[in-house]
């Protein structure tokens, strides 16, 4: 059996990962857990980019992945800074405690 993975295999995996990420963002109440689920969704999109890039023999998709990773790193730095400030002000990481977006 010499079966090579098809393009839609990768897309299916990416869709599954993205859906898991969306479910996590919706059902989680811990800010850090929601943050990690967002990272999961970004990775699912990255997998789509790389799969298309590989199957279409075009390097542009991998460049987009590069930029997405940069944005994810910036988002991690700023997002975790915001999380630390929320924790300092409220002594809690539950999003329900920060639902009115003010002190």
């Amino acid at each position: 059996m010499n079966l090579a993975p098809q393009l839609w295999w990768y897309l299916a995996l990416s869709a599954v990962l993205f859906t898991i990420g969306v479910v996590g963002v919706i059902i989680k109440r811990n800010v850090i857990a929601m943050f990690m689920c967002i990272e999961l969704m970004l990775n699912a999109v990255n997998l789509t980019f790389v799969a298309f890039s590989s199957f279409f023999q075009d390097v542009s998709g991998q460049l987009f992945v590069f930029i997405v990773m940069t944005v994810a790193a910036a988002e991690a730095a700023v997002g975790l800074g915001i999380i630390i400030m929320i924790f300092r002000n409220r002594e809690s990481l539950d999003v329900d405690d920060a639902s009115i977006l003010k002190l």
Binding site: L3, A4, P5, L7, W8, W9, L11, A12, A15, V16, L17, F18, T19, I20, G21, V22, V23, G24, I27, R29, N30, I32, A33, F35, M36, C37, E39, L40, N43, N46, L47, V50, A51, S53, S54, F55, Q57, V59, S60, Q62, L63, V65, F66, I67, M69, T70, V71, A72, A73, A74, A76, A77, V78, L80, G81, I83, I84, M85, F87, L93
Partner: protein, 221 residues
């Protein structure tokens, strides 16, 4: 063979992703997320994208997850307690929207299923580092430069957010090192005394130690 590898790594990725959502302790979620990242890096290698795979491990599994784990440790996160979910009436809506999402993605998969494209083999040039560098510095030069500005803004923003305010409250007192002393040092004479010492404030620590009352901050200035 490739199909077997794909199934192994895809199963690892999906299993770890489910674990990310299912775990209640954020630290376990973080470790599972590292598993997802590593499995995806293996898939990138299978897709003949070695540079992206390396960057995935270095940036995601390395830098970003270190940052996340550091924040988890810093904030002393407790496990999520089970609370009655609010907004219960939104559950049917969520189910419907998840069904729509699945339908959309399966339509896309159906569309590309019969595409004639073949994957890049490992001999071809697509995906090697020099090609990515050429693309970044010629056709995608402007996004690349904008990325650097974005990173600069992120650095400044993160420092501004996480900086502790320099104005302490008037009641803040400082006794250097007093609160980090172990209990054995504090109560050397009574080893059978196992009650925890409340050293929440500098005053209590000073009382336990029998030293001078703590110095006020304004005296230092």
């Amino acid at each position: 063979m490739l199909a077997l590898l794909f199934i192994i790594f895809a199963g690892l990725a999906v299993g770890c992703a489910v674990a990310v959502v299912a775990q209640r302790n954020p630290l376990y979620s973080a470790v599972s997320l590292i598993g997802v990242f590593v499995a995806l890096a293996c898939l990138y290698v299978m897709l003949a994208a070695p540079f992206i795979a390396a960057v995935q491990v270095i940036v995601y599994a390395g830098a970003i997850m270190v940052l996340v784990v550091f924040v988890i440790m810093l904030l002393n996160v407790e496990e999520e307690e089970r609370r009655r979910p609010r907004l219960r009436f939104l559950v049917p809506t969520a189910v419907v929207m998840a069904a729509i999402l699945v339908a959309e993605t399966s339509f896309i998969m159906y569309s590309v299923r019969f595409s004639p494209f073949t994957p890049t083999d490992n001999i071809s040039n697509t995906g090697i580092t020099s090609q990515i560098g050429t693309g970044l510095f010629t056709r995608y030069l402007l996004p690349f430069e904008i990325t650097s500005i974005l990173l600069l803004m992120a650095i400044v923003g993160a420092m501004t957010l996480a900086r502790r305010s320099l104005r302490l409250s008037p009641t803040a007192r400082i006794l250097p090192g007093a609160q980090v002393l172990a209990r054995d040092v504090l109560t050397r004479g009574s080893p059978e005394d196992l009650t925890a010492i409340e050293a929440d404030s500098s005053v209590e620590a000073a009382r336990v130690l029998g030293v001078e009352p703590p110095i006020k901050r304004e005296d230092l200035e």
